[in-house]
Amino acid sequence: MHSSSVPALEFLDARKSFGPGSAALSGLSLRVEEGEIVALVGPSGCGKTTAIRLANRLLDADSGQVRVFGAPVGDQEPVALRRRIGYVIQEGGLFPHWSVEENIETVPRLLGWPPERRRRRSHELLALVGLPPERFASRRPRELSGGQRQRVGVARALAADPPLLLMDEPFGALDPIARRAMQKEFGAWRRRLTSAVLLVTHDLREAFLLGDRVAVMEGGRVRQLGTREDLMQRPADAFVREFVSEFAT
């Protein structure tokens, strides 16, 4: 269905404002190819969360286009689109009244998978994210640590094998130790689980660690997209130079 020339996610001059004189996105163009992680990094208010919300139509662009595997999202039914895209938010956003396995089975249940298949999948994912199902499957989110909740959030996003994963500050609420552990492990899981990832973070270190390519955003658009080396050694402008200089150690 998708040839390798079609990007998993593409923003074409996307613009969005939340009222006159306050453009959240002022012409965002960006491609996330199949098989890669693009980390979107920038100061708070640079529009990175707005960008991620355009991809699964939690917001709609004022102008420009967003395409998922070549198809403009504006032409797609939002509910169906979202079930095909994984979505992880800060602190997981787990449903507090559901057990861990019920949380993970959310999208499979919405898609009408039979119960045994859902259960098999959720336990498989739990094992993969380092939470043995026999100990964790029937716990409630409040019985988990922040890092464990975040693992469940990732497992939930990936339950129905979405080819594209959106992550909005997924590790932002964790303490530094849990955060490092998650970052390290996530790099290992994700190749087995999903094809393309758009990761939003304000942490340049995380962006460099996880992103195959890193897009530095400021003022509602991408200032520079490139590898760590590109950004460090050939910054496109003064802002990028300043932004990555904090990492020059």
């Binding site: 979202r82 956003g93 507090p96 009244h97 409040r142």
Partner: protein
């Protein structure tokens, strides 16, 4: 004291019948109020601009003295007149506000991150309401129903004034004949009912309230 007890015992059949009538009035009114106020409370969370004026209006209605409200209702066609129907309408009016307010507060105070996740994972608005928002708001909604029931049990004693029956019948009769035993025969069971319902619904709330 002993004399009162004997008096109550002798009239147990009548007291029991009136207690049943009393509970019937309150439960009928509360059911109607739930059927109106819960959907309306949900609708107000979807239309935030309407929430303030509607809740303010419900607040004002709540301040109308109950005897006055019965008076207003009697001449009205369909809703009014003499009898149980009018009493139920009045009880519904008083039960609406606590249920409406608690439904609105309960749904609006669901963690925005949880709502965002529900939408972002592909729940329709109806699924989000059914699977996430209502279950999480349930203890708060139930607390509103509990208040409505307890208040309703007290108010329903006045329903006897318009011929709707209930334990108020004994109280009014006792006042008219200056018989304190009759007053107690109505007031004691009414008070016990209020305490029992408050306690029972409280247990239910703790038992069925989802873990937050």
């Amino acid at each position: 004291m002993r004399e009162v007890a004997r008096f109550l015992w002798e009239r147990r059949a009548e007291i029991l019948a009136l207690t049943g009538q009393h509970v019937g009035l309150v439960l009928a009114a509360t059911s109607v109020a739930v059927a109106i106020a819960v959907p309306l409370g949900v609708a107000l969370t979807r239309r935030p601009r309407l929430a303030r004026p509607v809740l303010a209006f419900a607040n004002i209605v709540q301040t109308i003295p109950s005897l006055a409200l019965f008076g207003f209702l009697i001449p009205l066609p369909l809703l009014g007149g003499i009898g149980a129907r009018t009493a139920i309408v009045a009880l519904v009016v008083y039960a609406l506000l606590p249920i409406l307010r608690n439904t609105h507060v309960g749904i609006s105070s669901v963690d925005p991150a949880v709502v965002d996740a529900a939408t972002g994972l592909g729940m329709t608005p109806g699924q989000r309401l059914r699977f996430v928002e209502l279950p999480l708001a349930f203890p708060v909604v139930l607390a509103g129903i509990r208040i409505a029931v307890v208040v309703g049990i007290g108010l329903a004693t006045i329903a006897a004034a318009i011929g709707a029956g209930g334990l108020g019948v004994l109280i009014y009769r006792g006042v008219a004949t200056v018989d304190h035993r009759l007053i107690l025969a109505g007031a004691l069971p009414a008070a016990l009912l209020a305490v029992a319902f408050d306690f029972g619904l409280g247990l239910f709330e703790r038992r069925w309230g989802p873990a937050r």
